[in-house]
């Protein structure tokens, strides 16, 4: 049975609609992109709590901070480039420093945005948000997890950045499983190499594990949906078990999941490690599939790096 291909933002919209019905404190802000971010689904059920800010993202973050300071639970959405970059300093002072209960939820992150090109492909957003004190950073693996994570962050008190893609891709998590912030999920148990992914790359890790299995290599696949706070136990345990780690993210290797895992492991348990992600580059126009291939974000790339880290480990021993 093949998994359905679903867009995360569609399920973000569904979750917001549910919150619109269930939680009167939730308000949703958008900056003229409600049709794309799918916050429009919330507007349909709770129009009086939907706040159109116009094309003014910096203002949107300030308004969200003010709403949170008044007891609301604001979700502020736009594309990842704008959500993390255009208003980074607004998020820093008005949200993170003030430790206000604002959820910045970005869609259209990563190369899979496709033809819009580099201006609209956020490859730096996780790094930008991870850096901020008080900030929780979540990258759900698929549409189902995006739905569950949306409900979870509404219940959590504190600033959150959540990142989603634009395109439809196969789901790999259970539809009904409640999301636990800060908790990694072992998707597949293995003993020879650890594949730690987030977002759409979790699916690529699972495909890579299939390919590796055919070669007789047992890969453990971990969905690291919370980048911050990182599930240190999960990283430690899998690294201790396999001694060889590959991270995979649709993001720059500078500052994202790969950095977080490398920083932790190099301090507490130095482990052969390779990072699959973009390497200090902008994206470009093209189809999502073409771009993922060109920039090295496929299952085949993960398999190659798995071989490399296994070789590094075995040379050491």
């Amino acid at each position: 049975m093949t998994a359905p291909k679903l867009a995360q933002r569609t399920y973000y919209g569904k979750a917001l609609a549910q919150l619109g019905r269930d939680n009167p404190q939730v308000v949703v802000l958008d900056a003229d992109l409600a049709g794309s971010t799918k916050t429009i689904s919330f507007k349909k059920v709770a129009p009086e709590r939907f706040i159109e800010c116009g094309i003014a993202e910096a203002d949107m973050i300030g308004i969200a901070a003010g709403l949170a300071a008044s007891g609301k639970i604001p979700f502020a959405s736009t594309f990842g480039v704008f959500a993390s970059g255009r208003c980074w300093e607004q998020i820093r002072m008005a949200v993170a420093y003030a430790n206000l209960n604002v959820k910045v939820v970005a869609t259209h992150c990563g190369l899979s945005v496709g033809p819009d090109g580099a201006t609209h492909q956020a490859l730096e957003d996780v790094a930008l948000m991870r850096e901020l004190p008080n900030m929780t950073v979540i990258v759900p693996a698929d549409a189902y997890e995006a739905f569950q994570a949306t409900l979870a962050i509404a219940d959590y008190i504190g600033p959150v950045y959540m990142r989603m893609g634009r395109s439809e891709f196969p789901v790999c998590t259970p539809e009904e499983k409640p999301f636990e912030i800060g908790k990694a999920t072992v998707m597949l148990k293995g003993t020879d190499v650890s594949l730690i992914g987030c977002g759409q790359m979790v699916q690529a890790c699972l495909e890579a594990a299939d390919l590796l299995e055919k070669e007789g290599i047992s890969a453990e696949v971990i969905n690291m949906a919370t980048i911050k706070p990182l599930d240190l136990d999960a990283v430690y345990d899998t690294a201790a078990k396999t001694g060889a780690v590959v991270t995979a993210e649709e993001h720059s290797v500078i500052g994202g999941l790969g950095s977080a895992v490398a920083e932790f492991l190099s301090e507490v348990r130095p482990t052969p490690l390779a990072r699959v992600g973009t390497y200090d580059t902008f994206g470009e126009s093209g189809s999502a599939d073409e771009l993922m291939k060109k920039y090295g974000l496929t299952a085949a790339d993960i398999v190659r790096e798995a071989h490399n880290v296994i070789e590094m480990r075995d040379e050491k021993s």
Binding site: V27, E48, R49, I51, C53, G54, A56, A58, D59, M60, I61, G62, I63, A64, A65, G66, L67, A68, A69, S70, G71, K72, P74, E89, Q90, R92, M93, A94, Y97, A98, N99, L100
Partner: protein, 277 residues
Amino acid sequence: MSEPPGIEELQNIANKMRLDVIEMTTAAGSGHPGGSLSAADLMAVLYFRVLHHAPDQPEMPDRDRFVLSKGHTAPVLYAALAESGYFPKEELLTLRKLGSRLQGHPARGHLPGIEVSTGSLGQGLSMACGIALAGKMDSKDYYTYCLLGDGELQEGQNWEAAMFAHHRGLNHLIAFVDRNRLQISGNTEEVMSMDPLPEKWHAFGWNVIIIDGHNIRQILEACAKAKESRKNPTVIIMNTVKGKGVSFMENNPDFHGRACNPDEYQAAVAELKAVIR
């Protein structure tokens, strides 16, 4: 309940706050006295007459809210909070010191009475819009007051917020512009001209009231008039003198961002004590 302070008493409180500002910034050895002094009269009027607030219940749900968008003038806000009883006055002298609740710029969560964090210019009006909108959504009667610097209006986000406030009909939002015409590099009109300032606000759909920001009666009347608005937000442009109340600090951009040296401190204290009852 004691009688609310009259005009003379408010003027006296404003001057006490000015003295607090000089004491605090001198003890700190740094800070922004100039813009604190220009806003002292407004702050006295707000905290002792206009704001519906309870210093012993800083989280009172129906309180009026105040946002200091020009966060570098935190000393005058701290003075107003201390003078009105949010925390002991002695604590003012910890300003900017390690471990103090009185951070260099107002920090939410550190000190009672601070609604949001400010200091990076241009953001307070957006936050005030959010607070005012929350009140409107919940059919609350509270007012949200926001104090802006004039140089600060060079930040574009203010005008995004101005559009939003008008678009949403935030009539319970009242902004003040401390129009002292000086910013760190000199005259605002030379650095980046703000004039015609009232016309800018008019164009964004706001009610505009222009007053002498050192005239207590005019501040009181302007606040009362602003509260009559049933549709639009109101901006009160206060023509002020940076450094007001200390002769050698008046209209001197040097005191935008530095404290008095010991001689200046003595002179400033003497001038202020001479007018405080």
